[in-house]
Symmetry: D2
Subunit: 316 residues, 4 copies
């Protein structure tokens, strides 16, 4: 925040609920807004010099009159990219755990039931050279793809929002959702949730996943039929890891807590201290550019075609 003060006049309104009368009083001379306040056209009109709205979350919400912003050259920015390295590292770590079973074997060791050497490794596989599939190829997918480079995997990607050529250029294979699900040993779900795609990973789709595959749900619980996922892994058809859940916290006695084929991570993949530091850095960088009359380059810009379809709610 001190660095912010160095580059501009900062008015800090605290972390709690927004005091809109206070906010409205400041808008006249305001160049940028940082936070998730309600910004209908009526309020935005009070800020004739506004150049950017910094939404310090990973997704866009329906709190802003985006049309007004687009017509008036106001950037609406989020910091989705800030979390992607943290999520990618967590995804890789959990994928390696599914492949090698080390958290399971650590539990057995603590219980005095461990097995040494080859005996306990019969279902262990390498990630190197494996068939990998991504569902969604935004920031998370790109960060993950970088980490996968030394593993020389064959990577299939399904993302209906980008052309095949973009996937080709990354050395991956543009694929249908069905191909990704049925042909991959490791499947990573990195898709955001929109009004249209809720629950698209339904029972029928999950049934396509091959035996002994590893399925990692890293983005939003709402894209998957979670009960079906829980049942399929409980039955031992394949193993999975999930960082997101349909309810957080999950009910006390839920069967997910007894599912040995599901690695349970309570929404911990993205929000680590270094991600928050990076968000501060990104805001500072882009605000500096904007104050110098240059376009922002670090944060993600809302695009009019897609912003209204995002259905995410704030994570907190």
């Amino acid at each position: 925040m001190n660095e912010l003060k160095n580059i501009t006049d900062l008015e800090y309104h605290g972390d709690g609920p927004v005091d809109y009368s206070l906010l409205d009083a400041s808008l006249e001379k305001c160049v940028a807004l940082i936070g998730q306040m309600d910004l209908p056209e009526e309020r935005l009109r009070k800020a004739p010099g506004l150049k950017a709205i910094f939404n310090v979350e990973g997704n866009f919400y329906q709190n802003i009159d985006y049309d007004y912003c687009f017509r008036n050259g106001i950037h609406v920015l989020n910091c989705g990219g800030a979390y992607s390295q943290a999520v990618a590292e967590m995804s890789l770590g959990m994928a390696l755990d599914l492949a090698r079973g080390f958290s399971r074997e650590d539990r057995r060791f603590r219980a005095g039931n461990e097995t040494y050497l080859g005996e306990g490794c019969k279902d262990s596989v390498l990630l190197s050279g494996a068939d990998v599939g991504f569902i969604g190829f935004g920031n998370l997918g790109r960060s993950m793809l970088s980490l996968l480079a030394p593993f020389h995997c064959r990577t299939r990607i399904y993302d209906p929002w980008i052309p095949d050529s973009v996937i080709d250029e990354q050395g991956c294979e543009p694929s249908t959702l069905e191909e990704v699900l049925s042909k991959s040993r490791f499947i990573f779900v990195f898709a955001g949730v929109t009004r249209e795609n809720q629950g698209f990973l339904n029972q029928e789709k999950l049934d396509l996943i091959s035996e002994n595959a590893f399925f990692l749900l890293m983005s939003r619980a709402a894209v998957v039929d979670f009960d079906a996922l829980n049942a399929l892994t409980l039955s031992g058809k394949f193993s999975a890891a999930s960082d997101v859940f349909p309810q957080e916290p999950m009910p006390e006695g839920h069967s997910v807590r007894r599912n040995d084929n599901l690695l349970l991570s309570p929404h911990r993949a993205g929000g680590i201290p270094q991600a928050f530091e990076m968000i501060g850095r990104m805001v500072l960088d882009d605000l500096s550019l904007i104050l110098r009359g240059l376009p922002p380059v670090r944060m993600q810009k809302a695009q009019w075609e897609t912003v209204k379809s995002f259905a995410s709610k704030p994570a907190g």
Copy 2:
């Protein structure tokens, strides 16, 4: 084995103890020996056409008259490299677990004590950009370094057997043991055990490890004072993971089983099915070359300067 038969006459003597009278009878026309049989000079003299001894383990043992082999142009080969990809992937997965605590949080989730979002991530760190240290830079270290490439770490390496220039060329920093221990956030022990270096990671050295560091023992338990390691991690000074133990199995009630800061892996890093397949492939490849009068290129050759200092015992 069928492929072996295709390239040469194979005599298979089974998996159990060696029948030496049977073996001796075959040596006259023998070109290559595969296994860990006793091979003193007296026996080797019976095999005038012998060109190679394939030791299908990751280390050399004191079962062979190496001097005789060197004087007579007999290659002695082991398959250390075959395990290194498996160990490197396991090392990376366990390092990410130490950094993010996902196996610990999975245990808490199962117990109904999980914490969602940032609250549970306060001690989580990225591997990307971290200070990393290797103790030992043979096959394991090289495989690991490849996997670390996309993380852009600063990597310090201690290995008294190789010149600094070899480390420089890999973009790493040649370092003393003390530097690696005191300056690294992630420390990987990849050193083999010799007559000279047993227990070289003693209490005094382990005390150099900084608070909140992550220490991964991936090669041989004999290089470390294991009791000191257990005590330091029990006390919470730093966290660790270990794939090897001074006794395997460890005693039933050993405090290691209650150590929450020590990830326990019962010697599972290397011996996975794909490693065994690779060993078969390596033997086949090098035997083919040798039968064609060419030097082997896939397996590791015993070198007279070092082979006699190896103190490892067979893992099985």
Copy 3:
């Protein structure tokens, strides 16, 4: 073009000068325009359904009422990225030529004056491990940085339009123009030309270049004092390569044609057949997305902060 017809109704108006009466008649139902026609507000108003203007050049020109487009959600796109791979490969090839003198020695060989072995290599240097500097870090710089990865250079970058953190993240060093010029052995000029930066590489700046450096002008001649560059290289202070010239063609007897320390490339770095194919592909990809109601992802979008400062004229 056939592929274009497959995804939409195409009206093709030929390659020659635009027939504006014909164009105006088509605007009513037009969704996208491809080409460099004049598009003042008056004409744009005739195209109420217009969603995108595809400018199939590497830069933006002053032929469009950009304000109107921004206010009305019309994407203005160019295909700068299409040339960058071709320019990067050419830049690398010419840099290696400056470092090793192979085109110069080929000329001597043809003249019968060649020198064999070490004698003719005394001034040869490796690119590997060298100090490299970029002036400008847009598409060209990024493509070049990818090609440089295996050379493990120390790369300093000057680009006033992007924050230091973007350069840091690429493993490069954000630097002043003076640092890039004075500390680099290889200097690549990838900067576009704007109203403000014409001739910014003036005599005073070029004097900072160290002896025996290699200077490659790959983007726009207008950013450099070309006479000063010619004089400095003629005098032998450093060597250079240039793909662009203040006049094209250069005058017949110009001293540049006798300058043995200047590799002469008549604007050949970008416009190769594969670049033109990629442009077709990019237009097709982004038009497909736009017709499906999705944002374009392959071409570069005009940004209101910068588009009006571009001073480039069409290359042809």
Copy 4:
């Protein structure tokens, strides 16, 4: 040399012809020999403490009784690897020149015949994504493969001395000589010359090269029918570059000097100052290891299976 003196007693016998009586007098206490002196068994017997012979060239010659050395644990080392980075960079630069014609167009520019923009680029191609072939996969091939990584080529490799799996592991395709020649756009010859393979790239094989391919002869002239290569490129079937010639210097009026489709490099690819510095470093490193009782790791060891088949003569 000063560094050498720091680690051992050095006797320097000058750069000229060896004074064998002087040498013989020193052998009694000699640990290592550096140079290309004649070393028959009779002389080697005078050096009972000899541990290594450093041959500071890129190949092995028939000046040493290798059998004696192998039987007696004397390492014979060459510094082939020291040149490989220099050769790889030169190979890449010349390949890019063949692909883009920049040395040819520079000649035309000097003659006042240059063509600007697309017109002069119609036969230009990218290296990125191209079909590449290697003939020989030793040090040179490996260094080259590293430099090619960002180009994402499909790389076929022919090398009868190594198993397919070694090539597979590098992400390349093990291929026959015929496949490499007929299917590659860029062909790199990195093969050493042995008693058996002289002239193996004969007329019949060269006829397999496809039209518009680029052929780069980087290792030894003796592996190719040079007259056939000259004729095929003169006729315009394909283009080539050569760093080595059947006679050096080539005869004054030889047609090679008028061959516009052959880039002529008078044996300049390897012997650059930084390669010589690296040789010094390698000798120093390995000698240090040997004096400490450790095996050398930087230089190439003579192998009894292959050393006697090398037919190279010293380059100088």
